[in-house]
Amino acid sequence: MKPAPFEYVRARDLDHAVAVLAEHGGDAKVLAGGQSLVPLLAMRLTQPTALVDLAGIDGLAGVTDDGTHVRIGAMTRTRTVETDPLVAAAVPLLPAALRHVGHVTIRNRGTAGGSTAHADPAAELPAVLRALDAEILATGPAGSRTIPAAAFFEGFLQTALAPDEVLTALRVPKQAPATRVAVEELARRHGDFALVAVFAAVRLDPAGLVAEPGSRWPGPGTFRCGPRRPSNCSPGRPRGPPRGARRPTPSPRPPTPSTTSTPRPPTAPDRRGAHPPLPGTGRPAGREERRRMSPETAATTAAAVPVASPSTGRRSPPTSTRAGPSRTSCARTAG
């Protein structure tokens, strides 16, 4: 597997990057962490005339406090965002979601800007950006602009970015204090793109009662996600079982909601071994993830699971770096 020939340009600064992109009239591509782009190049699924590497541009990486928002530079590595203390305190949904992105090795190289610009419908970061009404900052020949996440993600691998625009940063609103979050994914193995994902956020008042269970279930683009308030999670209700209480027994199969019809995709993992299980366990990873949740989030999320259902039987298009049935990401926030 060898890429088709291309010109490589290490951009000196943002103006240089934009100028090279404009010069190539839509045939050049930005190179960030390369974790999606390099495999696509190797398989010749994309054949740009030039790659514009952003790695040499000062000031594109880093997490900063921006008042009501957290600002994440486009070249900030996913692993850096995931482990950043400011992000953990201000936007707990982000680290909870990002630890599901591939593996540590992928997150060491992949960038926040790259995942956003790539806009894989099963990707965690775009779903969080949609859920929290984040803003995406971009610079092109006509200057800089701010795009709300709701307008940014247009569909499968499609965004509002023009071919000669560079995504420079994300502005993510801080979540209210005392917001509890939970992210649960069902995947063939830990680190695979999710078959089903549910993101939940609940704000508790000082007495530990549910103050705000969140109101939206956005997903980036084309699949079924909708708002649903779990019945045990309306305002004024105590949060699920107290800490230390017995958790609901995890179901041995991926949860199949009774309220919606969600047949297992035809290519769903055969747990007798046709697909690789979580190494050494023989179990799909979803159950592992469930075990790690605290009782109160388990209660909330368990109630939320019926909301997200895999769109049945649709296969990943060939441009994806991963094979498998189609996947769904949802998020719920306290905002």
Binding site: G34, Q35, V38, V104, P276, P279
Partner: protein, 124 residues
């Protein structure tokens, strides 16, 4: 260092790039310009095997050995981040590295022992 899938999935090509693991198949050489690269060859001190290598040897953590260089790089980073992982954390940390021979259990055993040896080394 080995090359398997060439699209980021198998982990066989994992190296250290400026101290953090990276898939070499998803990294253009020019992106590594000026960076420090570490491979499995750098683990042993001369003829003395690294505790990780010793543990993999003792516990039969490899059979054909194709996945091993990538797994050793991954585990080295895992143990640097988390010197005392649970078995579940070890399995999660290995989930990006495919081994077609061992069934993983011996790898998990080897990592558990290597972690204990490295913790003891550090304590001295």
């Amino acid at each position: 260092m080995h090359v398997g899938c060439e699209h980021g999935v198998c982990g066989a090509c994992t190296v250290l790039l400026d101290g953090r693991t990276a898939r070499s198949c998803c990294t253009l050489a020019v992106q590594a310009d000026g960076a420090e690269i570490g491979t499995v060859e750098g683990l042993a001190a001369g003829s003395r095997l690294h505790p990780l290598q010793e543990a993999f040897w003792a516990h039969h953590g490899l059979q054909c050995g194709f996945c091993t260089p990538g797994i050793l790089m991954t585990v080295q980073e895992m143990l640097a981040d988390n010197p005392d992982p649970t078995d579940e954390e070890i399995r999660e940390g290995l989930s990006g590295n495919i081994c077609r021979c061992t069934g993983y259990q011996f790898i998990v055993d080897a990592v558990r022992e290597a972690a204990a040896v490295l913790r003891a080394d550090r304590a001295h």
